[in-house]
């Protein structure tokens, strides 16, 4: 395998990039001045070496705690639970949310072998048990798997004296949070509803 094929093969593994685009990007990088390609390589290296999950909320950060957890102006009594760290960026864009987050690290999917123990549900339960948390807002995606994940977390929090709410379905079913615009997300947050404990 040549260096060109190597890079193209790596690029093609990225989401939304096919073989043709990977080749085009590779040749584009070859055409530009080499210091620009080296800067890209360094940025990737730093990303891979320094970025890690925040020990409190599993957001991605280079610091000990992420920027949101370490911000004293954020309301730590409200936790918004999301599937992926990239969802935080989407909710922050709405500019409406002042609480903190909890990244679950995916969504429940027994078909793909993902169960509660593969997610950070237990850590969320510990956070709620340990601190001054008033409310957990479930902001998993409005898909079948996202809804089941919300239910799972709600049941896991069952014993804790905490309000558990679900963002409104302003988002199209199956539409990812990541692609929703800021206004839509702000509306979905405002119109959130309490999840009622099922007695069955």
């Amino acid at each position: 395998m040549s260096a060109i094929d190597d890079l193209a093969a790596e690029l093609a593994k990225l989401p939304g990039i096919g073989k043709k685009t990977a080749m085009r990007l590779t040749y584009h990088l070859l055409k530009q001045p080499s210091d620009r390609s080296l800067r890209l390589a360094q940025a990737l290296e730093v990303l891979a070496e320094r970025v890690h999950p925040c020990p409190r909320c599993h957001n991605l950060t280079e610091q000990d705690l992420c920027a949101i957890c370490s911000d004293p102006r954020r309301d730590a009594s409200v936790i918004c639970a999301v599937e992926e760290a990239s969802d935080i960026w989407a909710i922050e864009r709405s500019g409406e949310y002042r609480g903190v987050y909890h990244v679950l690290g995916g969504r429940l999917s027994p078909l793909d072998g993902v169960s509660a123990s593969d997610l950070t549900v237990n850590h969320l339960v510990e956070r709620v048990a340990a601190g001054e948390v008033r409310e957990v807002i479930m902001a998993t995606n409005p898909s079948v798997e996202g809804e089941a994940t919300a239910l799972l977390v709600q049941q896991a929090l069952g014993a804790a004296p905490v309000r558990v709410s679900r963002i409104a379905r302003g988002l199209p079913m199956g539409g990812d949070l990541e692609y929703a615009d800021g206004v839509t997300i702000a509306q979905a947050l405002v119109a959130r509803r309490d999840m009622v404990q099922d007695s069955r």
Binding site: L108, S109, P110, L111, S115, A116, S117, S143, V144, E145, E147, A148, T149, L151, L152, Q155, M173, G174, D198, R200
Partner: protein, 386 residues
Amino acid sequence: MEAPARTTDVRPVAARLQRLVIRDFRNLADVTLVVPPGGLALVGDNGHGKTNLLEAVYYLHLFRSLRGARDVELVRFGATTFHIGAEAAGARRDRLSVGFEKETGRRRILLDGVPCPRVSDALGALPSVAFSPADVALVAGGPGGRRHWLDVTLASTSARYLGSLRDYRAALSQRNAALRARSRSSPPAVWEPAMAEHGAALRLARAEFIDWARPRVTESGMSLGERGLVEARYRCGDPLLPGATLDDAREAIAATLAAGRDRDLERGSTLQGPHRDDIEIRLDGVSLRRYGSAGQQRTAAIALRLLECAWYRERGGTEPVLLLDDPVAELDRGRAARVLAAITAREGGQVLLAVPRADDIPAALTALPRFRVRDGTISPWSDADA
């Protein structure tokens, strides 16, 4: 429930295939066909490609094989991709095109030249209904075939139904996987609200369809010459009372799933729910599936296909293209004549007929322009073929 408005004064538009281009689909390497407004008759021995051509046209309705084959199996032996293109009138789109590449498994649908990434938006792009002797399985076979028929018919005219079906199936497969995982950290119960919600939407739509269908099935039975009373009944796991709401249906499903959870865990599968519902076709109160003669079952299957046509006409607003694959094979003469009269009674619909020999073209369809199908090629009929 309010009766749907009669639309006899508004004539539905008939979908017409005008030009068909097929490349490397089944045994059809390269076919370009200008289709006359009234349709055509394909004459050729079995195995030469006439059913494949009907399957290609049907692909533009469901974007799946008529015979349940996977896309990779539809690519002609030795070829890498198949392509079906059509120009149509009276359908939602004038130009349709679909291509499938075997190696990548990628499919590309173009409607009026615009890529259509979601097949749900393309469904029913060129509506058609296929009649074949194998349809007898709809009546004589297990519930799966009837449910599939019902789901396809309803999803073809309702994006909402299709969405509910997709989400219900997703939740069902996840619950089944959770049942088999037998793990405390993968509880099956969290999938039940989604199954109840989407399953309730399916059941209400199905019940409404059967209400609509009931008088039509009886009418079809009579015009097809059945002496008794033909009836269609919805066999729903949690029977819906008249006037049942979405909430009623949802609660019923949720309760059934919760009650069956332990047994389901034991069996590793969800044994009750909308995915097990059925339609029962009865003649004078007796199940045709169990006790009907072969002729009665064939006739009832044709009544279901006619129902499908009526649904697309009344709910979809479009008269579908009829794909008739040797429609009266193995029927006695009296039944055959009545069936053809019922099928061809609709005015102005386009018919694509496939028969083994010119003698098999029914009298009512002898005016259709004829084409010879041989070894995957289609050519206009010449007197030498006669």
